[in-house]
């Protein structure tokens, strides 16, 4: 036993370590922010916006999957309902400004999320995944049958309009910085949620639900709220996507899309804040690169292969593995 052992020293050391970690995180976030601000001068803004929309979608999904431990296989329904609602409103009511259309789309997705949650939240694990998948398929059939979605053809020529009636969004740069602002706001919101006492309860539910119950938490209500927030953000992503591309189609509602967002989150690192963003960037890029080359017909099997590889070999994803490495080597 060391004589000079002093608990206050230990505490100070832990605090110092915490501080240096925080500083590192701040630095990292600052660099990323600068990169995002400068990116449209180096790359095609529409492609960047596509990445941001999917990143937001994955961040939303990760709040539920990574932090609460609920695997929803139906998140495409929220992406699509947001996109279709916004697209329909902006196409048919020229008096609406863009942000009103987006807010309306988000609201519809939120309500749909509440309906999904009420039906599914009491089911556990893979059962929950199956129920959400089936519910999303119901929504898909609804969109296929409805006249306003344009069925198989999709919804084309959605006007981008003016933000607050002032800023012309048909300009790609304006559009990009609007999407970026919304994305960063949502990212910070999720960060805030996850580190709040509420977020701690979500993590507790993920790690040991019976214990969370026995501590007196009404886990169903916590999970429902997480589901609704996640659905709302996914709907917001879909709404923005339909404005960016001026297009909403059945692809967004298909279960394939629900699978894709799982892949993004898993590859990037579930349960980390930055993971889904990295994962979305990775998957969108891979799809784009493949679609340009001789392997354009092999996108699906390659994504499937990445799925299998990720599950077998690196379940913590890109960010998770880096964190593990840092912890081991940098302390």
């Amino acid at each position: 036993m060391s004589q000079s052992f002093d608990s206050s020293n230990v505490r100070k050391a832990i605090l110092d370590q915490q501080k240096s970690q925080d500083r590192r995180k701040m630095l990292l976030n600052g660099v990323l922010l600068l990169l995002l601000l400068a990116a449209p001068f180096a790359m095609y803004p529409v492609f960047l916006m596509k990445i941001l929309c999917f990143a937001l979608f994955a961040v939303a999904f990760n709040l539920l999957f990574g932090f609460t431990g609920l695997l929803s296989f139906g998140h495409a329904a929220f992406l699509a309902s947001g996109g279709y609602t916004t697209g329909y409103l902006l196409s048919n009511y020229s008096g609406l400004t863009t942000e009103m259309g987006i807010i309306a789309g988000t609201l519809v997705a939120t309500l749909l999320g509440l309906a999904f949650a009420l039906l599914s939240i009491r089911r556990q694990g893979i059962y929950f995944a199956m129920v959400t998948l089936a519910l999303a398929q119901l929504v898909y059939f609804f969109f296929v049958q409805s006249a306003f979605t344009g069925g198989e053809d999709g919804m084309h020529g959605i006007p981008r309009g003016h933000l607050f009636g002032l800023i012309d969004l048909s300009d790609n740069m304006n559009m990009y910085y609007f999407v970026l602002t919304v994305f960063i706001a949502c990212y910070l919101l999720v960060q805030r949620i996850v580190s709040s006492p509420y977020g701690q309860v979500l993590k507790a539910i993920k790690q040991n639900e019976p214990r969370a119950v026995s501590l007196g938490y009404n886990v169903d209500r916590y999970k429902t709220l997480a589901f609704v927030i996640s659905a709302a953000l996914a709907g917001l992503a879909g709404s923005m996507k339909s404005v960016v591309f001026q297009l909403a189609s059945l692809n967004d509602a298909h279960w394939h899309m629900s699978g894709e967002v799982i892949l993004m989150t898993l590859v990037g690192g579930m349960g980390t804040l930055l993971g889904p963003v990295i994962g979305a960037t990775f998957v969108v890029n891979i799809e784009y690169q493949l679609s340009q080359g001789p392997l354009r017909d092999w996108v699906d099997p390659i994504l499937g292969g990445i799925f299998v590889l990720t599950v077998l070999a690196f379940r913590s994803g890109i960010v998770g593995e880096i964190q593990k490495f840092m912890r081991k080597n940098l302390g």
């Binding site: 039906l119 893979i126 199956m130």
Partner: protein, 295 residues
């Protein structure tokens, strides 16, 4: 012509028959899912792909080697079952101790690979499989025409379902299986080779799906994507029936097929969605499913 609720009897019975056949397929598929779920505690997302493989193998065996229907009926499930054993041995086993969600994601990835690769080889348009000669024609009943092949599908599917139920519920092998479901570690302690049992169970569940695929080959168009959408319907069937019982899976499957057929007669636009609507209603009133035990 006699009418029922404003629908000609012949139309109604025709749709009921189609519903019954679809129900037989749902029953076979959800039965396989239920068996795999029982022992491995995973939802086999590749089940639709295995169903498709069964049909595709039948067509390809016929086109390249001239293998006839009856041989394919045994050979295709055997081949696909063996393929399933390999998947279990090389992939699923590696993540056996992990959260069950991972095995769902793994099988999802496997399904994407199988479907994607086969789409590149065989295209999306669908292959045709000629009806075996002995099944041409049908019974002329006074209210409808019943093709021989459809009658055969219903009979053989029900027989296989019943046989499987019998083996699992009434025989010693089935007792091992059920015991393994309850407590696989204890089973291992009694000297039963549980890993082997798990492999074979996965293979058998998958072979059931392939068997359904063979039955489907002469009546549906065989495409690499045929299993994907069917699988989601079967998921809904499984949720409705509940995972608790083998018999429940069979009954619910047939029931849902018939309900789908009835909807096609009376309100066609809802026919592809009706099973999911039933699922919503069941979830509201019996969250564990019609035959399930509360998990």
């Amino acid at each position: 012509m006699s009418m029922i609720f404003g629908v000609p009897l012949a139309v109604l019975s025709g749709q009921l028959l189609i519903g019954f056949i679809n129900g037989a397929f749902y029953a076979l598929l959800s039965l396989g899912l239920a068996i795999i779920f029982g022992l491995l505690k995973i939802i086999n997302f590749a089940h639709g792909a295995m169903y498709m493989l069964g049909a595709l193998v039948t067509v390809v065996l016929f086109n390249t080697l001239g293998v006839n229907y009856w041989v394919a009926l045994f050979l295709a499930p055997l081949l696909v079952g063996a393929f399933g054993v390999l998947i279990e041995y090389f992939l699923l086993r590696r993540i056996a101790g992990q959260d069950h969600i991972y095995s769902l994601l793994l099988t999802f990835g496997v399904a994407l690979i199988i479907q994607g690769v086969l789409t590149n080889i065989y295209g999306v348009s669908g292959l045709r499989y000629a009806m075996p000669d002995m099944f041409k024609g049908g019974f002329k009943l006074d209210f409808m025409f019943l093709p021989y092949y459809r009658a055969w599908v219903i009979v053989v599917a029900l027989l296989v379902c019943f046989g499987t139920w019998f083996v699992i519920e009434k025989t010693k092998l089935g007792a091992y299986l059920r015991a393994g479901t309850e407590d696989s570690q204890l089973m291992q302690g009694f000297g039963i080779n549980v890993p082997l049992l798990v492999s074979l169970t996965y293979g058998f569940g998958v072979a059931l799906a392939a068997f359904a695929g063979v039955l489907a080959a002469p009546i549906y168009s065989v495409t690499p994507g045929m299993g994907a959408n069917t699988l989601i319907v079967v998921f809904a069937v499984v949720v409705i029936g509940g995972m608790g019982s083998i018999g429940g899976a069979i009954i619910t499957g047939i029931l849902m097929g018939v309900i789908e057929g009835l909807t096609k007669t009376f309100y066609p636009p809802a026919s592809s969605a009706v099973i999911f609507l039933v699922m919503v209603v069941v979830l509201m009133f019996r969250p564990a499913g019609l035959f399930g035990k509360e998990a």
